[in-house]
């Protein structure tokens, strides 16, 4: 795996953690332990996404983009590997 793929994998891991924690919080909206866990991983994901977007281009159309071009279309879509 190259650096970009490694960073992407880390984001996918954080996404999975947040997705599953969100489902738990949907039925346990006042669970303080789960809320803390969610916040911790939300911050971790935020840092990784910021790093990824600065280097390789935006992950959403609202994301920061690396300069030079509209990376949304000049960089590959995720199934093009």
């Amino acid at each position: 795996m190259n650096e970009q793929q490694k960073l992407m994998r880390s984001i996918q891991i954080q996404n999975f953690i947040l997705q599953e924690t969100a489902l738990f919080l949907d039925s346990h909206p006042y669970c303080r332990q789960a809320l803390r866990y969610y916040q911790k991983h939300r911050r971790m994901r935020e840092e990784l996404v910021e790093m990824y977007e600065a280097r390789y281009g935006q992950l959403t159309i609202y994301g920061g983009t690396a300069s030079g071009s509209w990376h949304w279309v000049t960089e590959p879509f995720p199934w093009e590997v």
Partner: protein, 157 residues
């Protein structure tokens, strides 16, 4: 409102094309127990669900099903890249190819186009949640049968 994130929920990287497998796997997109039906079921049931916890869950699960649709699309696309005419004929992918070439069209394994009749929305919490349980059970039941069918090629251990 939805925001697309340019990632797959789980990486898909298939090097060896296998159109016969694509023909089976595509039912996870447009078949009676596929992801398209799942996402439409959950996302549309939300509006009449009287419990906010359940609305939240239907929203998040329905959204996740959209990401599953994308993974199936990625799998089917990668399984049908750079096929020769002979491969298309030999694999039994020729019928699908005649109608859709290697485009990703939501159909069942038997080639039946997606039908919204696969899902139920009654506006009644008990009826809708039972529909969800039945749909999930059907999905869980389908995966091993499909896994058995595709395992010989070694892609789905």
């Amino acid at each position: 409102m939805w925001i697309y994130e340019k990632t797959l929920q789980y990486p898909v990287k298939i090097r060896k094309p296998d159109p016969a497998m694509a023909k089976l796997i595509i039912t996870q997109l447009g078949g009676p127990d596929g992801q398209l039906g799942a996402s439409m079921r959950y996302l549309n049931q939300r509006f009449s669900m009287p419990y906010r916890e359940v609305v939240g869950m239907l929203t998040d699960i329905g959204t996740e099903e959209l990401a599953h649709m994308e993974m199936i699309g990625a799998i089917v696309t990668q399984l049908t890249r750079n096929l020769s005419v002979e491969e298309i004929k030999k694999s039994g992918f020729d019928a699908y190819f005649t109608d859709h070439t290697a485009g990703v069209y939501p159909v069942s394994a038997a080639g039946v186009p997606f039908d919204v009749k696969y899902i139920g929305v009654k506006g009644d919490a008990i009826a809708d949640l039972n529909e969800d349980l039945a749909a999930d059970a059907a999905h869980v039941q389908e995966q091993p049968s499909q896994g058995h069918a595709v395992r010989p090629s070694g892609c789905f251990p």
